[in-house]
């Protein structure tokens, strides 16, 4: 009797085991990417990766893609453009991944564009800015809400001109992303006859911004457009607070990367007040779609143990959305054929937790969904305040708007 029970049990285990092992024995679908996990972009990179990992776990819980488990193959690119070409060559030629996601940010992504174009590979972009404009790869799809190249600068300058701004100062970091932003800002300013009275490019590793801000202030600009990277944004705002920027300034900000991250926002606290800056997702009613709340519930729990950005608004939901788009495309085409997936992505609108996404021919969003928002009423050392609405009032786009610009900049700071 005992023996029969044992055998029966063993057979049951074998049957169940056989069923699940049949699924498990199918090779997983490998998605390869590099991600900045050290260096200046690591804060964003880790949050983005967590978003992608949450999607992987969700999709695997639903049975995977094409009945196969999804596996991520991830390497640290140290925020460096020099690391990514070798990593992506390894992902394709050694690891033999099925699909590629780009690393977070423009700088590490730019050098891999020629490679993916040459090999005819699909690349899901991850918050790069205009890396495909010259390469012209037709299998590139950026998850970021940027939209047409000039829309970012145009929306900021729209607000600035409405506030009475007539000339502009441009302060930009000497790297790919910020330079691309500056380029479009110069173009838009030229088209609108806005003279540029100060135009400086600062190098990476600049320690102290007081001297630069003094020089900027001396130019007496109305509009100050800043395109900076995370390590510098805090230094610039601190120097602005200490040195002052002058009463002429109607609007300040635009393209400061870093002010979207909880640690930086918490550190800067009230220094943020008045700054008008771009953002991608904010906890406002109009920005919740199917699955958004559930995603943030999971993210908030996992962010603590992963020691990443506790808010995760800027990148994490877009990492998840990138996975959702691949999930939809693979499900619809029922294959991993990269050309077929690219065709599907190009021709359809995709429902994601950050709203519907449709691509134009260059692989960027058809319409910009980049927010311009003004910091208001921010207190020092309080991360939780950013979870409630109203701390960043959305000024653009109109359909998501939650308030009007307070100007001049000095008045908005108080």
């Amino acid at each position: 009797m005992k023996r029969r029970t044992f055998l029966g049990g063993a057979m049951a285990v074998a049957v169940v085991g056989h069923g699940s092992s049949a699924l498990a024995q199918q090779p997983p679908i490998k998605i390869g990417m590099s991600m900045p996990q050290t260096g200046g972009l690591a804060g964003g990179g880790k949050a983005s990766l967590l978003g992608i990992e949450i999607w992987r776990d969700d999709v695997n819980a639903k049975g995977g893609l094409l009945g196969r488990k999804v596996e991520l193959v991830v390497y640290d690119d140290k925020s460096s453009a020099s690391e990514t070409p070798a990593i992506y060559a390894k992902l394709v030629d050694v690891d033999k991944v099925d699909l590629l996601f780009a690393p977070y940010a423009t700088v590490p992504t730019a050098p891999i564009m020629p490679f993916v174009k040459q090999r005819g590979l699909l690349l899901m972009g991850n918050f790069s800015f205009q890396v495909n404009s010259k390469v012209g790869h037709d299998m590139w799809f950026n998850n970021a809400p940027w939209g047409p190249a000039d829309s970012w600068a145009a929306s900021f300058l729209d607000l600035a001109q409405k506030a009475g701004g007539k000339n502009m100062a441009l302060l930009t970091a000497d790297q790919e992303f910020a330079q691309n932003l500056a380029l479009t800002a110069r173009d838009v300013a030229k088209k609108r006859n806005i003279p540029i009275v100060f135009d400086q490019v600062y190098p990476p590793n600049t320690v102290e911004f007081s001297s630069i801000i003094r020089a900027l202030k001396a130019a007496k600009p109305d509009i100050v457009y800043v395109a900076s990277y995370p390590p510098d944004s805090a230094g610039i705002l601190r120097a602005v607070n200490e040195i002052g920027i002058g009463d002429s300034v109607k609007i300040f900000g635009g393209g400061m990367v870093g002010l979207q991250f909880a640690a930086v926002m918490s550190n800067l606290g009230s220094l943020l007040n008045g700054v008008v800056n771009y953002n991608t997702w904010l906890p406002e009613k109009s920005m919740y779609f199917d699955g958004t709340k559930e995603f943030f519930d999971k993210y908030t729990k996992r962010a603590v143990e992963a020691k990443v950005d506790p808010l995760g608004y800027y990148l994490a939901p877009f990492g998840y959305a990138m996975g959702q788009m691949i999930e939809a495309a693979v499900g619809a085409t029922k294959s991993l054929d990269q050309k077929g997936i690219a065709k599907y992505l190009r021709e359809n609108e995709h429902k994601t937790i950050v709203g519907p996404i449709a691509f134009s021919a260059d692989g960027e969003r058809k319409e910009t969904a980049t927010l311009q928002a003004q910091f208001r009423g921010v207190k020092d050392k309080d991360i939780e305040q950013f979870r409630s609405s109203g701390r960043q009032v959305i000024l653009f786009p109109d359909k998501l708007k939650t308030g009007e610009l307070i100007t001049p900049f000095e008045a908005a700071r108080n």
């Binding site: 050290t38 990179g45 490019v201 600062y202 600049t206 102290e208 630069i212 805090a234 230094g235």
Partner: protein, 288 residues
Amino acid sequence: MDLLLGAVVLGVLLGCFYAAVSVGLSVSFGLLDVPHVAHPAFLVLASYGVYQLNESYDIDPLLAGLAITPLFFLFGLLAYRVYYETFERRGSDAAVRGIAFFFGIAFIIEVLIILQFGVDQRSVSATYIGKSWRFGEFRIPIRQLVAFAVALALTVLLAVYLSKTFMGRAIRAVAQDEEALRLMGANPVRIKQFAFGIATAVLGIAGALLIIVAPVEPTLDRAYIGRTFCVVVMAGLGSISGTLIAAIILGVAESIVLTLFGASWAPAISFAMLLGVLAVRPQGLLGR
């Protein structure tokens, strides 16, 4: 003219800060010939120590820097002993292999910081951070004035210690002629170990200044490795007062370039000046 004057004032303040973060290296590399490329990583580690004390116990960053100084002294003693036993004692190419050792230490420190604190920027709060003193239209950030005063005091104290005290003179002696010191019955290894401890202890205060001046992140050491070695070599190896002078020259030059000629040129300044000084005085500004 106002801009130039402002640039010079801010440059002097910045220069004194550069002196504070370089003066420990002036002892370890300049006097002891230890290829201490992990110096900026030790500095960033000190900043995180200060951050932890400030965040958890609300201790003023400067006091926190002072509090971790004894720990850093012990850390320095240990680091030198490991370096001596594994590299210096074993032969003439110790310096070359020592570079690999200290690079390894720097990477380990970086990874440990990431594991403990994550990759986000960290900063401290104090009443003097984020405010400025106003002189008419001209404003000076108070955090820079604090860094200036503390850096100046630190450099002067270290210079006095090395020239006036018995142990300080012993450290200078070991730098000049280790063999002669051995013949006098002193143990040069112990003196060098003590000196390395002092050089590391100084980083407690320097780390506090680093996080007072700007937020820190785990890989910030890479931004300082060039600057600190440039200051020490330009000063003349082992010259503490030279370190202060070289750092101020560098700070003023950087500030003027940032203000008047464009920020893109600033990084080239350190090394252009270093090359210029070495071409005229190969031993550095105050080197013997």
